[in-house]
């Protein structure tokens, strides 16, 4: 028997950072390898970006590309942190992957940290691609670069937390198939209602009241005020996102079933 295969017990957990990085890498590869996930996280946002900035379909304030680009960035966050994560985690639960990982030295907190890091990694990739295409289409973000970057980062993290909470709430309670259907439906509804490409100011009053407290509307509105108007911290939008994050993450922590 080769020396590499000595079954003599020599147990021990790897250092936490190594476990978390290994799991993060596996999660990122899973997203990048999955055709449907790529469609959701890359192709659809890019189509929306190119389509709506080129075609004069809607009346928007200011230059068309400057209005659409922040909306598409918000859509990208939602597609990864909410739709992709809900479907992915739902099926991991169904296939016993979450259960099996629970028997390894990687703790559940470690697994959640890895999932968060994976979502953020994919978002960085999305931002790089979307920003490059938007700039090529003539996008001119406003505001002082460093300040705008910091503000966008705050909004993106708050949005990621809110959408992750929703994703885990769904994935941890519904059957995988139900999560798949519901996550896609919610994605479409929020895409339509959340000011991604259609300004909520064009909605009838009653609908607008509802739309304005949605997390996607808060994220699009916040990013747009920073990047299109060169505004400061969008406090109201940030508070809405943080409230969604607090409620959904607390509910998810209480109701999540690992198998």
């Amino acid at each position: 028997m080769s020396a590499a295969l000595d079954f003599t017990p020599r147990p021990g957990a790897a250092p936490l950072h190594r476990m978390v990085l290994a799991q993060t890498g596996a999660e990122v590869r899973a997203v990048l390898r999955n055709g449907e996930q790529l469609l959701l996280t890359m192709i659809i946002p890019l189509l929306v970006l190119v389509g709506f900035s080129a075609a004069p379909l809607l009346e928007v304030p200011g230059r068309r590309i400057d209005f659409v680009a922040p909306g598409v960035l918000a859509l990208a966050i939602m597609s990864t942190a909410f739709t992709g994560q809900a479907i992915g985690t739902g099926f991991e639960r169904r296939y016993g992957v979450l259960k099996r990982l629970g028997a390894t030295p990687l703790s559940r907190a470690g697994l959640m940290l890895a999932k968060t890091l994976a979502v953020i990694t994919v978002e960085i990739l999305q931002f790089a691609v979307i920003a490059a295409v938007a700039l090529a289409l003539g996008w001119r973000p406003h505001g002082a670069p460093l300040e705008a970057f910091a503000l966008v980062l705050v909004m993106v993290l708050a949005g990621t937390a809110a959408f992750s909470g929703l994703a885990l709430l769904m994935a941890g309670t519904l059957r995988a198939e139900a999560t798949l259907a519901a996550a896609n439906l919610v994605y479409l509804v929020l895409l339509g209602l959340g000011g991604v490409v259609v300004p909520v100011t064009s909605f009838p009053h009653a609908l607008r009241v509802v739309a304005e407290v949605l997390p996607i509307t808060a994220l699009t509105g916040g990013l747009r005020s920073i990047l299109a108007q060169g505004g400061g911290l969008p406090a109201r939008e940030l508070l809405i996102l943080l409230a969604w994050a607090a409620v959904t993450l607390a509910l998810a922590a209480r109701t999540f079933r690992w198998e």
Partner: protein
């Protein structure tokens, strides 16, 4: 240090009104292979999953390597290896990738490539899990259970659905783990598996232990005489010629079993009786009772 690998005392597990485990007490020694046998729904998986920390017991005491799997999970998990009854691997993940990932959770793992090779999976290292056959998937799960060089391995029906080659490969691994001092607790339906592998067999039914011991103790010293002949022989007449305490039955039709003190005398009486009846006894053999006989005797024959 010398606490048993697993010690369960008066274990109880309920799901709503169903009692899955009902006051079960068992212990699995260190460095030994312990097989938990039982019909479907006997409580095997519930028991093993409480040991693994997946479920909480509703009553009784659980000690795994001297630790409480619920409270000391963080200290216990690096020391145990787990093979679930099914699944547990992301369907799109390649076998080699999964093993490298699990290896990176451990401080001194086995080499994933060498382990794949040992289990005959080298050419499937880049095959996604969902494209593998059932037997290959089982071997990937077995590999993941032992890659962290655990002290104790839990295998829930490790050879279910395996072809004979893969079953023997799995048995070889369990034998080698035992030789290296690893403790193994496994559940199985296969009597031959328990008989071949286990130092100790625990038969459970309706959530409680109905018999335990080494396969040899369980099958006992009693032997049986078996033969085949035309169906419908009058066994009552034969029994009058045999010492009291001897039992005879025809099951299934045309297959006869005589149980009792099987010695030269009994053998002579039976063959003489066959000669008198004008029947030829085919496949006449004297055997020890099998574990399957014991199992069916204890758990009944009705289907569940």
């Amino acid at each position: 240090m010398d606490s048993p690998a697993v010690a369960l005392t008066d274990l109880v597990k309920r799901y709503g009104r169903t009692i899955a485990v009902d006051g079960l007490t068992l212990s699995a020694e260190r460095g030994a292979v312990t097989a938990i046998l039982g019909p479907n729904g006997a409580g095997k998986t519930s028991t093993i999953e409480i040991c693994e920390g997946f479920r909480r017991a509703d009553g009784g005491a659980v000690r795994v390597l001297g630790l409480d799997p619920a409270r000391d999970a963080a200290r216990l998990k690096p020391r145990i290896g787990v093979m679930l009854q099914a699944g547990g691997v992301p369907p799109a993940m390649r076998a080699g990738e999964w093993l490298r990932l699990v290896a990176r959770f451990h401080a001194h793992p086995l080499d994933p490539g060498a382990l794949l090779d040992r289990l005959g999976l080298t050419e499937h290292a880049r095959t996604p899990y969902r494209r593998m056959s059932g037997g290959q998937q089982q071997r990937v799960s077995l590999a993941a259970a032992i890659i962290g060089r655990p002290e104790l391995v839990f295998l829930d029906e490790p050879t279910a659905g395996l072809d004979p080659q893969a079953r023997h490969a799995c048995w070889d691994v369990v034998g080698e783990l035992r030789a290296r001092g690893v403790s193994t607790v496994l559940t199985t339906h296969h009597m031959d598996e328990a008989e071949k592998l286990a130092d100790k067999v625990v038969i459970i039914d309706r959530g409680t232990v109905v018999a335990e011991g080494s396969p040899r103790t369980l099958t006992g010293a009693e032997r049986q005489l078996r033969f085949r002949a035309r169906p419908g022989l009058d066994l009552d007449e034969l029994l009058t010629a045999l010492p009291t305490g001897t039992a005879a039955k025809e099951s299934p039709s045309g297959h006869y079993v005589i149980e009792g003190h099987v010695g030269p005398e009994l053998l002579g009486t039976v063959t003489a009786w066959c000669a008198a009846e004008g029947v030829t006894a085919d496949d006449l053999s004297v055997e020890r009772r099998t574990l399957e006989d014991v199992f069916l005797e204890l758990t009944g024959r009705e289907l569940r």
